[in-house]
Assembly symmetry: C2
Homo-oligomer: 148 residues x 2
């Protein structure tokens, strides 16, 4: 895992469930991570984006954060809890972006070295192509060193 293409492949295809949604890793830089969920394959019974696709978009940010900032330290994430509030109907492709501070990265790595695990939480706004917030999310994740 050293190239951006490797990370994109893992995020977009590593979990079959996520791959089937058409999730795209638009940007995977330490300065900014941006993920996109396409509308068309994910419409629901009333023609807007299904709640589970919005959940997946938000939830996968935890994995993207682990890949971009923590994978080089062989730390593997799981999600512990997640809440999502649906604010407006999602009627276009939906995006979300996030950047983790250098202080947070440092704290997580140090905590993993000391205690064998570390938690981090991620709050997101999921936006349509006009910038309208369609959902807000709050996810709690835990990383642990990869088993050898």
């Amino acid at each position: 895992m050293s190239t951006n293409a490797d990370m994109r492949g893992l995020l977009e295809s590593g979990i079959p469930f996520a791959a089937r949604t058409g999730l795209k890793a638009v940007k995977l830089d330490r300065e900014n991570i941006e993920l996109l969920m396409p509308l068309t394959p994910n419409i629901n019974h009333i023609g807007i984006m299904y709640a589970g696709a919005l959940f997946t978009l938000g939830e996968m940010m935890g994995g993207a954060v682990a890949l971009v900032y923590l994978f080089e330290h062989s730390l593997i994430p799981i999600v512990k809890s997640f809440s999502i509030k649906f604010v407006k109907p999602g009627t276009t492709d939906i995006t979300t972006s996030y950047a983790m501070s250098a202080e947070d990265v440092k704290r997580i790595i140090a905590e993993c070295e000391e205690k064998g695990k570390a938690d981090y939480s991620i709050q997101l706004e999921l936006k349509d192509k006009t910038g309208l917030v369609v959902a807000v999310t709050d996810g709690l994740y835990q990383v642990r060193p990869q088993k050898k």
Copy 2:
């Protein structure tokens, strides 16, 4: 929408996202609704059920409840918010069951007639085939009369 087979078709195939997970409506009776999420198409990066499949299993109960108890009154559901706590790894097919009380059904129908909408919340335990709780969920839904 009068037969059990019609409801099963809508739940398992009505939303392409849910259909791709392989979600099954095991039971759709007023006495008890049971939904099942299969493991195999929904494994994640560490070989257990992906969080989004557990979300979908829990979230779709809101739709199943609307179909079983409220669709004959032409009430259509949306989900307003949803939280999920991941308790144990999901390593088998996962099921969840729920029944709405006659009092709740009556209250929702009356509220829709009076105010044009009604909320209901559903708390669930998602269990593996040994009965172990792998996740708990809390969803808030709203139904409104179908637009003519």
